[in-house]
Amino acid sequence: MEIPTETQPEVESLNKLMKKTLISVVLAGVAFALYQNFSLMPGYEGLNVGLSNYIIESGLKDTGSLNLITAVLYDYRAFDSLGESTVIFGAVSGIVLILSRKMLPVSSKGLSFIVKRTLGIMTPFIALFGLYVITHGHLTPGGGFQGGVILAAISIIFSIVYGSAFDYRRYSPQTKTALETGGALTFLGLGLAGIFMEGAFLHNLGFLTAETGTLISAGSIPYINIGVGFKVGAGLAIIFYSMIQKTFEEDF
């Protein structure tokens, strides 16, 4: 009954080959089936269909936001975005729950002096760009999510260039958590304000609207953008720092 030990690797590789063949066949079948189904998809008539037409025609008038994507995200379907930021909030708290360690990362070596100085000069400009993307979300491409990611990138670059302990000393995790929650609460607060001022949850606050095209136009959209921007930035930074944490037992 025993299989001779010499032939075992062969059998194993044969098994692996069989498995690979099986998977390839199955995946080819899926590809075929998908193609067959998707090729029957009629061409997209786009603007002739009801929903999109409405946004193109009255999006600007309704929301005052030049960027119609932002208008959809933070006004028409603002509840989705609230849900989204809640998802990030939940994901962050989950990751912190999974990875909670007592030890903080202590590594202060970082890269060379030249890189450090250069980054020192660059950082304000990166931050400025991030803030620009956030605050001009309703006027130009961009918005809270995109700007928030740029802000988080600063934090990540810090940990690479100056060593992972640097950022902790500047902004403690508590600060980041407060920033994140502050962003979420801004969103929620504007939503509740919508109930009291306009009678519907997350309704655009009309009295905040100024002349279209200026920075303070589009009602509550810029404020939501700012809240979401800080939230996403702080959240991603927290995720990053949770992941690079180490315990005493591991060498670093």
């Binding site: 498995k19 099986l22 998977i23 199955v26 995946l27 079948g29 899926v30 089936a33 998908l34 067959q36 189904n37």
Partner: protein, 513 residues
């Protein structure tokens, strides 16, 4: 809530002979309750609580004509009696529960099928396949032939009052149900044949057992055979006979099991060869035992004679019928007589009988409760024996019936002669007491048989064989299936694309079939 309560009350049906049967059920339960007062020592409160639940639900089972409440109440009966077995052994609880539950699953299926075919209330069912399905359904619960295998081990191992309940009334619920659904005019041939097989097979087994309670359990199966045969025959008198036999056997078997409990406490054994000075030690218990066995053996002026006579008279008259029933009667007479022979006649010394009786030495104290229970049973047997038409208006037509007591007497005398001859020449059919009769042993025999087909017999661990069958065998099979399905993670993920293909190409796949 109110609606369901109303529905519940409306569903009661006080017609035909079912109220009578319900009354008998109550009396029998009270008998066992009396007997249990001194037999059950621990957790008495819970025992009587279960008895109450049992009593109420049997009433519902007998009287209701709504499928739902019927099944509901029968499950309650099963549950209550199951937990009563715990006063003996938890192993029994487990086995009994598994068996009863599989039985009720079949019954549930049958009931639902009947419901689906338009029989919304419990009543006469004309369709033969449905009758068959329902007979199969009660088969496991009421110990019909081939499904009876669990009955002797469990009825003999249970505590005496619980055996009395189980053997005296619970197994009869199925036949009461059959009385409701089998048409009186036609009967059911299949049931008739089953009954015949039960009488002969279980009678033979009862003749070959040395253990009192096992013998009683087998005789239960044998006597249930008469009921099945009667219902299978069809016709008014056969049905009356079945009802009467349910009552007669209920009284006799309840009394016998109660007294068997007393004998067991008295002698510390259940082997019938070891009983000495039975009459002088416990005269009333002896009288009850003798009278009940006489009823089982259909001696004239006992309840058993009337019912068996009715069943016999319902058959098509002829030589064959006469011969067959003569032999069946002989069989029951033999196994009943054999026990009495060993208990009271063989190797007994009656020389100092009256002195012993006066002195009243006995090992187990005589309690008033027990005596009351036994007297009730005896009274029942005698009353039904002398006045079969007695209970109310229901069986009133039996007044006109001629019971041919003289021919009965003649038959009894012939039986007595034959059995006396056989006993004296064969040393009273003395057989060795079999080892503990249990479902595990059956299983071992069965497995040995299966193994023997291919190779020589293998020794099994009998302790664990029941577990092995019900658990390990099934578990290993399911484990194998599980291991087959659970290949490595790659294969598990691969099910998603396979599933996708099947669904995406479903139209094409469907068109092939």
């Amino acid at each position: 809530m109110a609606v369901i309560w109303q529905q519940f009350l409306v569903s009661f049906q006080f017609e035909s002979f079912f109220p009578l049967l319900a009354e008998v059920g109550v009396i029998l339960t009270l008998m066992t309750a009396l007997a249990a007062w001194n037999y059950i020592r621990e957790n008495k409160f819970w025992y009587y609580a279960l008895t109450l639940v049992y009593l109420l639900s049997t009433l519902v089972v007998v009287l209701t004509n709504d499928w739902f409440f019927f099944l509901f109440a029968w499950e309650m009966v099963t549950l209550a009696t199951t937990f009563m077995l715990a006063w003996s052994d938890w192993k029994l609880v487990r086995q009994y529960f598994v068996i009863q539950f599989s039985g009720s699953s079949i019954l549930l299926f049958g009931a639902l099928a009947a419901n689906a075919f338009g029989y919304t209330e419990i009543g006469v069912i004309d369709s033969v396949p449905l009758q068959f399905l329902l007979i199969m359904g009660i088969g496991m619960k009421s110990g019909l032939f081939l499904f009876h295998f669990w009955l002797p081990p469990i009825h003999s191992e249970a505590p005496a009052p619980v055996s009395a309940i189980l053997s005296g009334w619970v197994v009869k619920l199925g036949y009461i149900f059959l009385l409701k659904i089998i048409p009186m005019e036609t009967g059911n041939t299949f049931l008739f044949l089953l009954g015949l097989a039960m009488i002969i097979y279980a009678g033979w087994q009862a003749l070959r057992s040395a253990d009192l309670k096992i013998m009683l359990a087998y005789s239960t199966v044998s006597q249930l055979g008469f009921i099945a045969l009667a219902i299978g025959t069809g016709g008014q008198y056969a049905f009356y006979g079945a009802v009467l036999h349910i009552i007669a056997h209920g009284f006799a078997k309840t009394t016998l099991f109660i007294s068997s409990g007393i004998w067991q406490r008295e002698y510390g054994t259940r082997i019938i060869y070891d009983f000495k000075d039975a009459v002088s030690r416990r005269p009333i218990t002896s009288a009850a035992t003798i009278l009940s066995f006489a009823s089982l053996a259909a001696v004239v002026f006992t309840a058993g004679y009337n019912s068996k006579y009715l069943i016999k008279s319902a058959q098509t008259p002829g030589l064959l019928t006469t011969a067959v029933f003569f032999l069946l009667g002989l069989l029951s007479f033999l196994y009943a007589g054999r026990v009495l022979y060993w208990l009271f006649i063989k190797d007994q010394d009656y020389s100092t009988f009256f002195a012993d009786l006066k002195q009243g030495f006995n090992h187990y104290q005589i309690y008033t409760h027990d005596i009351l229970a036994l007297l009730t049973g005896m009274l029942g047997i005698i009353v039904v024996g002398f006045w079969p038409e007695m209970p109310g208006e229901i069986l009133s037509t039996l007044v006109e019936k001629d019971f041919h007591l003289l021919s009965g007497l003649r038959d009894i005398l012939i039986y007595l002669g034959i059995s006396a001859y056989l006993f004296y020449n064969n040393r009273g059919f003395k057989v060795e007491a079999r080892g503990n009769l249990s479902l595990e042993n059956y299983l071992q025999l069965f497995l040995n048989f299966l193994y023997g087909l291919s190779r020589k017999s293998v020794k099994f661990d009998t302790e664990k064989i029941f577990e092995t069958f019900f658990y390990n065998a099934i578990f290993n099979a399911s484990k194998k299936l599980h291991d087959f399905v659970y290949q490595d993670f790659t294969m598990q993920l691969l099910w998603i694309p396979i599933f996708m293909i099947v669904l995406l190409l479903w139209q094409q796949i469907y068109s092939y079939f």
